[in-house]
Structure formats: C-alpha cells, structure tokens
Subunit: 408 residues, 2 copies
C-alpha cells in the first residue's frame, strides 16, 4: 500500500539526511536543512528520530566559531556502528572481502587466492558462505547488524534476478546466487557488475561531476565497461549491456577468451598482450592465460623502454582499443570516456596508436567533444563502490525497520 503523501516526503527527507551525512561527514542540523531544502523543524524532528534509533550521533564542533560569536553548532554524524555491509569482489583467481561501516568507510579487507575456474556453482556458494561467515564472526560484534551484502562480479550479471549469467572467472553459467546468500544471511544481497561498482565511485568524484553520460573502460585480464546515462548504470534488457570487450575490432581476427574471434579483448587485455609477446620473446614459463601482475609489468616496461616487438604489440592493442572507442563515440556520444583497471599500467604504450585509430575511424563531427582520459587504478575501488551501492540499497530497509520498531 502506498504511504500517504506526508509520510512519503518524511521518508524521502530522512533518506536524504542519511545520504548527505554519508557523503559529507559530520554536518550541523541547519546545514542539513539547507543542503536538502528541508525546514529546520523537519530536520530537528528527523534527527531526533534517527538519534533515538541509534542511526546517528551528536558531536560538538571541534573548534569554536572563528567570529567568537554565537554558540558553536552541534554536528550530527552517522553512527558507523549502526550497521555494516560486506562486499565480495569475485575475479579470476581471486576473491576479495571488504567490510564497510554504516558511514561507508572500509573497516576490514582480505584477499584470497582461489582457483575460481575450478569451482562449481555449489562450490562457490559454499566458499562464499564460509568466507562471509568467518568475516562476520570476526567483525560483526562491532556492529548492530549486517545490513546487506554486495557481490561484485566480472562479467554479465542480472542484478534484477540476482543471477550470474556469465563470468570469465567461472566455468558455470546462470547461477542464481543472490537468493541463496540472502536466505543464508538474512539480509539483502545486491549482485553487480564490477565495472558498475567502479563507475559509481568515479562518477561521485568532483572532476567528473559535469559528465552525466560517462563511459568507464576497465583494462585488465579481461576488458569491462560501465555506461552511466544521466548518472545511472545502463544495464540493457537482461543485464548484458556494455560488453565493450566483446565488441569487434576485426571480424575473424584473434581468438578471444569468450571463444569467438576478433573481440577488442583479444587484442588489448592482459592475456592477449602476453600471448602476443610470447610469440616474440622467451618469457619465463607460467600460466599464459592468466599472466601475473609482475609479468605484465615486465612486458609493459619493455614496450616503454623501446623494445620494437613489444612496441608493436602495445600499438596494435592501442589501435584495437581506439577502434572500439570510436564505436563508443559514434553510438553513445558520451561526455567522457575514462580508461582504468589494472591494465592501465600499459596505457602510455598504447595511447598514441589509440588516438590515431580514433581519428582514423571518425570524422570530426562524430568524434565530437568527448574527453578521453585515463585514471590511476586502485584495486580497492570495486569494493568501495560495492559498499556504497549496498548501503544505498539498504538505507530504505533500515528506515522501514526503524519505522516498524517505532510503531510497535
């Protein structure tokens, strides 16, 4: 049943207050009102309720007012212990678990080497169950409750149905993982594409706030993408949109990890670069399909030091990336294309060929004014985004629980 309109606006205002406190840290009540266009009476009433529910706390300002006049304003802030969320990032051969508090800060992070491609769907469920249980046993006593879980996965997911449709990290398909975790941990479970988590972090940065149509390309083992349209991730009909890595550079070209030929990923991903390099160089033996960070850094350094074979390989990767980005410009005409991911380590060796390919592919009118920039990689970015998205998704739930308890 729909709430009466005054309850709806009370609810929206309460959500706005919580999100402002999460974005800005401690804020005085009067500023909370001004920032959200809410009357001071309403802010006072909302903050009284949130204080009583333990979702926020009060603290005095650290310094008196510079003018020396007036009473220092009391600041309110989120109570970080009010709840926590767990974000699990699932990528090839690695699982990262991060615990975030109610204010959005990372409180704990751990990495596990796991041969992900050897897992069955049941194995993955058991593994996640075990890892989340362990982290909860260690961390949860600091928090009032576990509000939610975010699972950030490389590949195609349906956020709506909570199903991993297809991931390069996994050998099985169509696994309805969210429902099982929700049942096990009695909390909401959000399933997200890893690139969308990263895009949500980047889109919040002041540098990119004028870019409502933002494309984020993630270079790495595979190549991922997130497309934000008016700031919202575009998912498509069943969650498989923005699969830039499998758009085409050369029909019938190099073999891709997906099994088809000529994908951008088959030229510009880590495994593609390593495969091309192994034709030219005596590389230390290893798993050529999953080169290590150290191996990739060695290759990149050789290209940057002027090794002609390595330069050609990175230039061809840049050309594939450039032709792919040309299609993105022609089809999405975004404000900004941001290139990041661990593979951005090799961007300096690719970018001249990439820009050349874009100019070669598109007339100026279709090239447009889109900015194309790279952005330093932070391996925690995915989980930071996942925590923010999980908190955002569970705020509504937190409020409905509080409302139920205040009614009872």
């Amino acid at each position: 049943m729909a709430l009466p309109s005054t309850d709806t606006s009370r609810y929206d205002n309460t959500l706005a207050v919580i999100r402002t406190l999460r974005d800005q840290g401690p804020v005085a009540r009067v500023d909370l009102g001004a920032l959200n266009g809410i009357s001071s009476a309403t802010v006072t009433s909302i903050s009284a309720e949130l204080l009583q529910q333990g979702l926020i706390t009060e603290r005095p300002p650290e310094t008196p007012r510079p003018s020396g006049r007036g009473r220092p304003k009391t600041l309110v802030e989120l109570n970080p212990q009010a709840a926590c969320v767990v974000c699990i990032k699932l990528s090839i051969n690695e699982i990262q678990l991060v615990v975030g508090d109610f204010s959005g800060q990372v409180r704990h992070s751990e990495h596990h080497a796991v041969t992900t491609l050897a897992l069955s769907a049941d194995d993955l469920e058991t593994l996640l169950d075990e890892k989340i249980s362990t982290v909860c046993a260690q961390q949860l006593n600091e928090f009032q409750r576990l509000a939610g879980i975010c699972l950030a996965v490389q590949g195609v997911v349906s956020s709506q149905s909570g199903t991993i449709i297809w991931s390069p990290a996994l050998s099985f398909r169509n696994a309805p993982i969210s429902a099982r975790l929700a049942e096990r941990f009695h909390c909401s479970v959000l399933l997200e594409n890893d690139a969308n988590c990263i895009a949500s972090v980047l889109a919040a940065k002041p540098d990119y706030k004028d870019c409502p149509n933002l494309v984020v390309i993630m270079l790495g083992y595979g190549i991922g993408m997130s497309v934000l349209i008016n700031g919202v991730p575009y998912l498509g009909a069943n969650g498989s949109a923005a699969e830039f890595g499998h758009s085409k550079y050369q029909p019938g070209g190099a073999l891709c990890a997906c099994g088809r030929r000529g994908c951008i990923e088959a030229y510009a991903s880590d495994y593609a670069l390593y495969r091309a390099a192994s034709d030219h160089l005596a590389l230390p033996s290893g798993d050529s399909a999953h080169p290590s960070e150290q191996q990739m850094q060695t290759l990149t350094q050789q290209a940057l030091n002027g090794d002609p074979a390595m330069q050609r390989i990175y230039a061809e990767a840049g050309r594939a990336l450039g032709y792919g980005i040309a299609n993105i410009l022609a089809l999405f005409n975004p404000d900004l294309v941001l290139i990041t991911g661990s593979g951005v380590r090799g961007f300096d060796a690719m970018q001249a060929a990439m820009h050349h390919a874009i100019d070669d592919a598109l007339v100026a009118e279709l090239r447009g004014t889109t900015r194309i920039e790279s952005c330093a990689w932070d391996r925690d970015m995915t989980c930071m985004g996942g925590i923010a998205m999980a908190l955002h998704a569970t705020d509504a739930q937190a409020l409905s629980m509080s409302q139920a308890s205040s009614v009872s």
Copy 2:
C-alpha cells in the same frame, strides 16, 4: 516561477486529456477520467475549459447504447482545426512537406526534388522559408494557427541548440536553422534526427509496447539509427549518438560517404550496394552515388533471382550489418532491433548472412534474447513521427496561451 502544486496538477491533467484524445480519438468524459486517473469533476471542469478555448468539440455517439438503457454518452474529441504543424523531412535530393492537424492527422503532403548537396546554408533557409510560406498560404486558412514546425533531418543534429551539425544531404555544417525559422514563422521549431521520428512512430505500435529499449536501424541511401532507452530517444552529449552507419565493420575497409573507411554504411547502404554491383554488371549509367529506387529494386531483384555476383554483394552487406548489430547487442542489449528504411527492400537477400554473422560474433550469453525483426517501410513514417513530436512539444505552449487568454 513554479506554479502552485494544484495548478501544476491541473496543467498535467489537461495535457493528459489532450494526449489521450489524440491517441484514442473521440472518448466519453467518464472514460477520459478512468484512463488518466482523474476525478470526474476535474474532467468536467477541464473539458469545459478546453471547449471554451476551441481545442476540443463535443459529438453525440453514433449509435444508441446496445443495452438500450441509459442516455448515450456524449463523446469529446480534439478540434482538428485548433492548430496545425508542418513537418519538413530533409533527405538527399528530396524535401517532403507535410501538414498535420491538431488531432495528429496528415492533411497535406508534397515532395520536391532538390539538389540538396548544392545548397548553401542561406539557400536552405531561403528554400524552407519559401516552401513553408507557400504551404501555409494554401493550408493555414483551415486552421486557427500554426503551432509549430518540425524539421526531420538525416544525420547529426543538436535538438537542444536547433543546429544541423552534419548531414549527408548537405555540404555545409553547423547550421543554426531552428532559431531562424522560429523568428520567421513565430512558432516553436523542433529539429530532429529522422530516425528518432520513425522510432517514435514504431514505439507507439502495440506490437512493440513491451520493448522499452528499442533500436531502430534505417537502411537506405545512408544508414541511420535511433536508440530508445525506456522509450526516450538517447541523444548523447551533443546529439551525435546512435550513428550506427559509421560504426566499424572493417578497419581500413571500403570507403564511406563520410570520407573514412570500413563503416557499416560503406557495405550495406544503397550507394555501397550499387557501387559494388557496378564492378560486376553493366548497369545503366546514372548517378552511382545516388542510385534511384528503381535501380536499387533492379539490383535487389537480381540477388533474389539467384545472380551469384549480386548474392555475394548482398551477403557481404548482410555480414557487415550482422557484425554491426552484434556490437549493438553487446553494447546496448536492447529488447528489440527493428530494421526498416527504404533499403529494407533488400533485407531478404541479406538476412541469412546477417544472422550468421551475429552468431559468429557473439556467444549465446551476449547474443541474449533480443528480437531482431524487419519492418515494412512507409516513406511517410518520418513525417508522421515529426508531426506527433511537434504536437507533443507544442501542447504545453497551446495550454499556456489558453491560460494567458483566460486570465486576461
């Protein structure tokens, strides 16, 4: 200044009533209320105001109620004479002018052969001025006023600034045409990409109502596209999104009309098919860059009749189209891809190769469940869409004029 909320909802309800009458034709007041969730008292008050302003008329139902009981319901309908709009479709070597009445029906249509590529921006302005003036002199006496003009143009336009950025029909660029026409004709001027006009007509059809993410590809002299996301045309940062024809099939491949190489258009457009055919056949002489409809029908017929060279050319066009659509599926994951435009005449000769290329390009998980269909071409579809969009854009203006006159 924002209207007080009761005025805002009155205004929104009035717009909803007008649009329901345009979509459905004559409707009883009680049904207008039910269809829009408006109380009968409000519908009575709104329709009284619209009647007084001459925007709607009353008519008795044509037959008594089948039950024979009760008084027959009086229907209200839009007054078609309340206003008219003019849509001008500008394509290579042709200008079409259509007059639509306030109910959205086409009242007049005319075509003019014009060597569009020989026009300067001033020439185009003079030509449009002359053609619109003539059609208004002939038609406008039937209507209370000219509410708006829609200019539907092949190519890249900025609807926001009213500028034709780049059109294959024109040799000049960046022409701010809307402001000049608005000044000349004292009405609102809407500048639209022709494919968006067509998509707006198709999206309204019952067959496609479950397809909020709809891609329409227009084959013809060039290749255009419209992408509707949640039913709204996606325009990108400056209006040059959805340029499918200039996404790439083969880097460094066939020469495109844009001046670059390897675009989908350079394989699957009319001029590309005709150019490829002229290498194999002794075709009647003519303007190979702008083959006529009759010439294209001859080529298509030869392919369908089993001529091996023509079959190869149409299959290669189908393959280019298929690889292009594979990128659309990977990047947009739409509910439906609809292929139309005059070039759909050759679709039967292309489609086997097209489907083969899509399967070749994408694994099943990325191919997804997107329907890919063709749709018969109607050369008046662009203008029908332009009239609907112009009326939609000017309804708000009609109401504010009526409100101003009812206040004065």
